[in-house]
């Protein structure tokens, strides 16, 4: 099933590795197929107690009073856990790496800021006993105006969601309300562009929906410590966070995990461990805190929703000369990982394309929605969706094949990215060429011969990195486009030569600009056989 294309970049690799490039069996596969892999809930303890959480039915409210007297007397109930029982009842996950301020309580005491926010814990001899007791708790609320839209939340007079960040924006470097990127001069470049296109993209939150819900079991050890079996994806993050919230040294906690029934980013938030540990400390018994499917879907943090505005400028010959992005990340009521997602997003604004003039303003916004978190490429994924939609539209606007349009604009080794990192080990062009080949997507000869190497292909100067280290000149792409190797895009799409009909380039043909990378003395030229050994 797997096909290794070792012909690509063969000259950059000493291909004498034992494991890399070889199929190998996973060490946990036997456990998976025999049903013996030890997930956190596959550990058994006598007298296990169960923790269930009373949650806010309102998106935004002041808590007037909580009456749990009847619940405390209910059959099977061992302990009620209130906000006052939590030793350090304000935390943010990334405080462990000094990023952001503590803003989220483990149990709410005065305000609830999203529907589902935890208020009270009930520890009982069974989940059922805990749930029956929960029905006896009376909470009195004053409902408050709520805000659910990122741009509404930034307007004057919008309800203030998060007491730590009263302006509804995360604070970067202690003073900035958004993350900024400036590279070149977009406004000047828009004036010179033949096509300017502005679009709006709106993403929805997405629930990870792992088949195993979030959960943990905290067990008093024989030496005063606690053993914690957990579904977490981030064992040491969870350990340190739990130690902080419980105000115990981290060496009092022994976390056991690593067998995770699906995570996808939804199990990095330390959702259950601090309270299962607290419950075990308060009762002296092993305690399990397991999300029901409803809790997982409704209250487990989702991928955040983003609203992204992109304005692009392109020239008729197919070069993107400017991109301006304004984006709003919906963090929900508290900071989990959206603040960090914004930083990733800003670094990714050009996508895998070389754009000489880039400007971005990206906000991490608080709303009265479920706090959002990591999920598979978070911060980048939504932007990629927007960028690639935009690329298709731009290709149409400049009259180019969408794949060739991407190849023309793709990073080459040595290009300067908008966040001032040099592009290295680029391979988009090669990946796209192979994909085009597999899909029988016709690419013209000069595009089939493009490469990710510095200056790899027509229309490229190969000097982007040097160019960008100096103040980026606005008109650089036009200079490049005017060079003799300029390609024209006047063909009708139907006139494209099919890759089957066109003769493959000679096996030894170097790519057109034929750059010879220094130090590459072994193996064949990078492009010797990409199209010469195609399988049919």
């Amino acid at each position: 099933m797997l096909e290794f294309r070792k012909d690509i970049f063969a000259d950059e690799r000493d291909d004498n590795l034992k494991e890399i490039g070889q199929p190998t069996q996973r060490q946990d596969m036997l456990g998976h197929v025999t049903g013996t892999s030890p997930y956190y809930d596959d550990h058994r303890f006598a007298n296990l107690l169960h923790l269930k959480i009373l949650r806010s039915p309102h998106a935004h409210a002041r808590i007037r009073s909580i009456d749990d007297a009847a619940a405390a007397r209910a059959p099977g109930v061992k302990r009620i856990i209130r906000a006052a029982d939590v030793p350090v009842n304000l935390n943010t996950l990334l405080s462990l790496i000094q990023f952001g301020k503590d803003d989220e309580p483990s149990l709410a005491s005065d305000f609830v800021r999203y529907r589902g926010e935890p208020i009270l814990g009930i520890v009982a001899t069974s989940e059922r006993a805990a749930l029956e007791a929960m029905a006896l708790v009376r909470v009195s609320y004053d409902q408050l105006p709520a805000v659910f839209d990122v741009e509404e939340a930034l307007k004057p007079g919008a309800p203030s969601v998060n007491a730590t960040y009263p302006k509804n924006t995360f604070e970067y470097y202690g003073k900035y309300d958004h993350q900024k990127l400036r590279f070149g001069d977009v406004e000047e470049a828009f004036k010179q562009a033949d096509v300017v296109m502005e679009e709006r993209y709106q993403m929805s939150p997405i629930e990870h929906a792992p088949t195993e819900t979030n959960g943990s079991i905290a067990v008093p050890d024989t030496n005063g410590r606690f053993i914690v079996y957990t579904s977490t994806q981030a064992l040491f993050f969870s350990l340190d966070t739990s130690a902080k919230i419980n105000a115990v040294p981290s060496n009092q906690l022994h976390f056991i995990g690593g067998t995770v029934g699906g995570g996808f980013g939804g199990k990095v938030d330390t959702m259950t461990e601090p309270l299962s540990i607290l419950a075990a400390r308060l009762t002296g018994a092993p305690v399990r805190y397991r999300f029901s499917r409803h809790e997982e879907m409704q209250f487990g943090s989702p991928r955040g929703a983003e609203r992204i505005y992109i304005k692009d400028g392109a020239t008729k010959d197919g070069r993107i000369v400017a991109r301006k992005v304004r984006a709003y990340f919906d963090s929900g009521a508290y900071t989990r990982l959206s603040s960090y997602a914004v930083v990733k997003c800003v670094a990714h604004v050009p996508g895998p394309y070389t754009i000489p003039n880039v400007c971005a303003d990206v906000f991490c916004v608080f709303t009265n929605r479920t706090p959002a978190t990591a999920m598979r490429g978070f911060g980048v994924t939504a932007l990629d969706f927007a960028i690639e939609c935009q690329m298709d539209k731009l290709a149409v606007a400049v009259g180019m094949d969408p794949l060739e349009f991407r190849l023309l604009n793709a990073y080459r080794d040595g290009d300067m990215k908008a966040h001032r990192r040099e592009a290295k080990n680029c391979a988009l062009i090669e990946c796209a060429q192979v994909a085009a080949e597999k899909a029988n997507w016709p690419l013209r000869e000069e595009f089939r011969r493009m490469s990710s190497r510095a200056g790899g292909g027509p229309g490229r100067t190969g000097a982007s990195a040097d160019r960008a280290r100096a103040p980026a000149p606005v008109a650089a792409p036009r200079v490049a486009a005017a060079a003799p190797q300029r390609v024209t895009y006047d063909r009708a799409p139907t006139a494209a030569p099919s890759p089957v009909a066109s003769p493959p380039p000679p096996r030894s043909a170097p790519p057109p600009p034929a750059p010879t990378p220094a130090g590459s003395t072994h193996g064949a030229p990078r492009f010797s056989s990409v199209f010469g050994t195609r399988r049919r």
């Binding site: 069996q25 996973r26 946990d28 596969m29 036997l30 456990g31 998976h32 197929v33 025999t34 049903g35 013996t36 892999s37 997930y39 809930d41 596959d42 058994r44 990870h208 929906a209 792992p210 088949t211 195993e212 819900t213 067998t259 995770v260 029934g261 699906g262 995570g263 996808f264 029901s292 499917r293």
Partner: protein, 159 residues
């Protein structure tokens, strides 16, 4: 109030006390100790807890334990043939048909029910057999291939 229940689990007689109204999933995991059965949604929708009752796939989380008295129940814990893996287990390993592994026991049992009644399934039969089992790591294609491989392997052994 607990009720005694007896049934056959993977060919062995077992007895357990079950809470009145308990589901088969909880009885298998908590009372009998068969941890190969996993709970995913506890509402009969994800297929993770699939076991075979009298050879028929059932979502054990919404199967009343008391209705299984005297019946034959199969779980992933009983798939192995001694030291050897069941052809389905071997094929799942070979085809990389598990990622996080949490849906795998239920997926294996749904596939076993298919192969037990149809040793030479088509791809469509396989898709139909596992259509009630969610794999959130999105590994359906390798799973389908593994089930087809297992059917062929069983075929060869019979030949």
């Amino acid at each position: 109030m607990k009720t005694p229940i007896q049934f056959q689990l993977n060919g062995e007689d077992v007895a357990a006390f079950a809470e009145s109204g308990a589901n088969l999933l909880d009885v298998l995991r908590e009372a009998v100790g068969d941890l190969s059965v996993k709970g995913g949604c506890w509402q009969g929708t994800c297929g993770t807890c699939t076991v075979l009752v009298e050879g028929v796939p059932r979502v054990s989380c919404v199967t009343l334990a008391e209705t299984c008295a005297g019946k034959s129940i199969e779980t992933a814990a009983g798939l192995r043939r001694g030291a050897d893996l069941h052809p389905l287990q071997a094929a799942f390993m070979e085809r990389f048909a598990a990622q996080c592994g949490y849906c795998t026991p239920g997926m294996l049992m749904a596939a076993k029910a298919l192969l037990d009644r149809n040793p030479n399934p088509t791809r469509e039969n396989v898709v139909d057999a596992i259509c009630g089992n969610i794999c959130r790591c999105t590994g359906y294609e390798p799973i389908i291939q593994a089930v087809l491989d297992a059917a062929r392997a069983d075929d060869r052994r019979r030949a």
